[in-house]
């Protein structure tokens, strides 16, 4: 019960203090919308627009979630407010889960903006909504965990931003967000198969377009396993690097 109260209050605090602040709302809205608008307007037809949506959604999740978590945690660490959480009788796993949850909610919100925007251009009939929600959730969880890993390694907010970009931009091209991985050169294709985001993007594409490269169950399992492993890694890194 104690952990549950702490979990909810940390989540609520993060949403109020960070995610619902005007600069972050604008980041969460303007960034996905401008990307979506840019891509949708130059698309030649409805089929093409629908093909773009999964990539836009995945990208919005990736950028919104990693940025927010990496920056907010680094900021709290700098102000030593994070120490307050570490000295509380709250399990480290609860603390990590609470910090991640805010970023995941923010990521899901980001993912739906291109979709809402897309409704002005295309019909959303035939979408597997349940699978899409699961895919968005898993992508957001994975991106949040990556953001947390960045936060563990960074000391300053600008370091967190710079470090995030090192993997975010390559992921855009390697994980099939826009360019199908089948069109990648062989070496990059092998690399993309080792990245869990590839399977998340494929799940999302499958949910929206009905076309999968990988077996969806395999992709789901791989995403869940990646999330669990990254969660454990984050927890271990926090214990090792922040409890000096």
């Amino acid at each position: 019960m104690k952990n549950l109260i702490a979990f909810w209050q940390i989540l609520k605090k993060d949403i109020n203090n960070y995610y619902l602040k005007p600069p972050n709302i604008s980041w969460g809205i303007i960034f996905p919308l401008s990307w979506a608008l840019m891509q949708l307007l130059r698309s030649p037809g409805e089929v093409w627009i629908k093909e773009l949506l999964p990539g836009l959604m995945a990208m919005s999740v990736l950028f919104g979630t990693t940025s927010m978590l990496a920056v907010t945690i680094t900021f709290e660490r700098r102000a030593r407010a994070f120490d307050r959480l570490l000295i509380a009788p709250v399990r480290l796993s609860t603390l990590v889960a609470a910090k991640l949850s805010g970023a995941i909610v923010f990521g899901i919100f980001n993912a739906f903006l291109p979709l809402i925007f897309g409704t002005f251009f295309v019909s959303l009939e035939g979408i597997n909504w349940a699978l899409m929600l699961i895919a968005v959730f898993l992508l957001a969880a994975l991106a949040a965990l990556l953001g947390l890993l960045v936060a563990v390694s960074a000391r300053e907010v600008f370091e967190a931003q710079t470090l995030s970009n090192f993997f975010r931009f390559p992921l855009l091209f390697l994980c099939g967000f826009f360019l199908p991985i089948t069109q990648l050169p062989k070496v990059l294709r092998i690399l993309s198969l080792g990245l869990p985001f590839t399977y998340g993007a494929d799940l999302l594409k499958g949910a929206l377009l009905g076309k999968f490269i990988f077996n969806p169950l395999f992709s789901l399992a791989l995403m869940v396993i990646s999330c669990v492993l990254l969660f454990l890694l984050c927890q271990r890194s926090i214990a090792k690097r922040w409890i000096l």
């Binding site: 019960m1 104690k2 952990n3 109260i5 702490a6 909810w8 209050q9 940390i10 605090k13 109020n16 203090n17 602040k21 102000a79 030593r80 407010a81 120490d83 307050r84 959480l85 570490l86 000295i87 509380a88 009788p89 709250v90 399990r91 409890i243 000096l244």
Partner: protein, 281 residues
């Protein structure tokens, strides 16, 4: 009965030994002062006690529990005031206190009641709904202390609680600490203000370069250091120290009075720390 027992505690950061094989204990219900110059290892020791740093070697027993292995089990009974006011700028004083209470699993009604109670005790009720960032330094310090007391901990760690704040706030904090002691809480305090330590603490340990160089009851520490008593002579008046008087008489000086002077804790501190540093300052 000891509530904190520290045995052979050591903390090394790469080549630097911040805390070097220290041992001390804190009795239930006392105020224990941990005194030393900057960089002596006070904050590192405190961090190890509260779970923000992992000891390289040694043992910490808090309330009978091995705190090195199971720190989460004892954090419930601890209240920690770090040397910085580490609350959330965006949140009001009231929200900050309620949030801290929630971290200890307090239900909503209870945490709101307790937050109001503490805000009143620390004269912060009028500022309760203002964001923390708008508080003055003294107000921030008081709220940080309130946050540490929100769950009524029986063991309170304070790192420089009155440094850099106004006199009135400092007095209020000192009064609060005395009151907490009367309630049976145990307090460990690090401070630069030796007069404050002298007034508040029952016992103290002096740490220099990561080692405890002296510890004991406050009165005893002062008495021990008084081996080289100073005599303050007030000229003009009745005298009891005949040889001294005779000496002064021979010199043609009239002595008015004789008063034994006990060193202040500050003098004791300077003497101890200077000896340990090899008299380099």
């Amino acid at each position: 009965m000891d509530i904190v027992k520290v045995r052979n505690l050591t903390k090394r950061y790469a080549e630097i030994t911040a805390v070097n094989n220290i041992s001390f204990s804190i009795k239930k219900g006392e105020i224990f002062g941990f005194l030393g110059p900057n960089g002596a290892g006070k904050t590192t020791t405190l961090k190890m006690l509260v779970g923000l740093a992992r000891p390289t070697a040694g043992q910490i027993i808090i309330d009978g529990i091995d705190a090195v292995r199971a720190i989460k089990q004892v954090q419930d009974i601890m209240g920690v005031v770090s040397d910085e006011n580490n609350l959330y700028d965006e949140m009001s004083g009231f929200e900050n206190l309620c949030f801290c209470a929630a971290l200890y699993g307090m239900p909503r009604a209870q945490r709101e009641k307790r937050a109001r109670e503490l805000l009143q005790k620390l004269n912060l009720t009028a500022a309760a709904q203002r964001p923390f960032r708008t508080y003055s330094r003294g107000m921030k310090r008081k709220l940080t202390i309130a946050a540490a007391l929100i769950h009524k901990p029986k063991l309170i760690f304070l790192d420089e609680p009155t440094t850099g704040i106004d006199l009135e706030s400092a007095r209020l904090i000192r009064r609060l600490l005395k009151k907490l002691k009367e309630q049976g809480r145990t307090i460990m305090i690090t401070t630069h203000y030796l007069e404050e330590a002298e007034r508040l603490c029952d016992r103290a340990a002096f740490i220099v370069k990561g080692r405890i160089v002296q510890s004991g009851r406050m009165a005893q520490l002062i008495k021990d250091s008084a081996a080289e008593n100073k005599i303050k002579l007030i000229l003009d008046g009745d005298l009891e120290m005949a040889p001294v008087l005779q000496f002064f008489a021979a010199q043609g000086i009239r002595v008015h009075g004789v008063e034994e002077v006990t060193p202040t804790l500050e003098e004791v501190f300077l003497k101890i720390t200077n000896t340990e540093r090899g008299g380099d300052n």
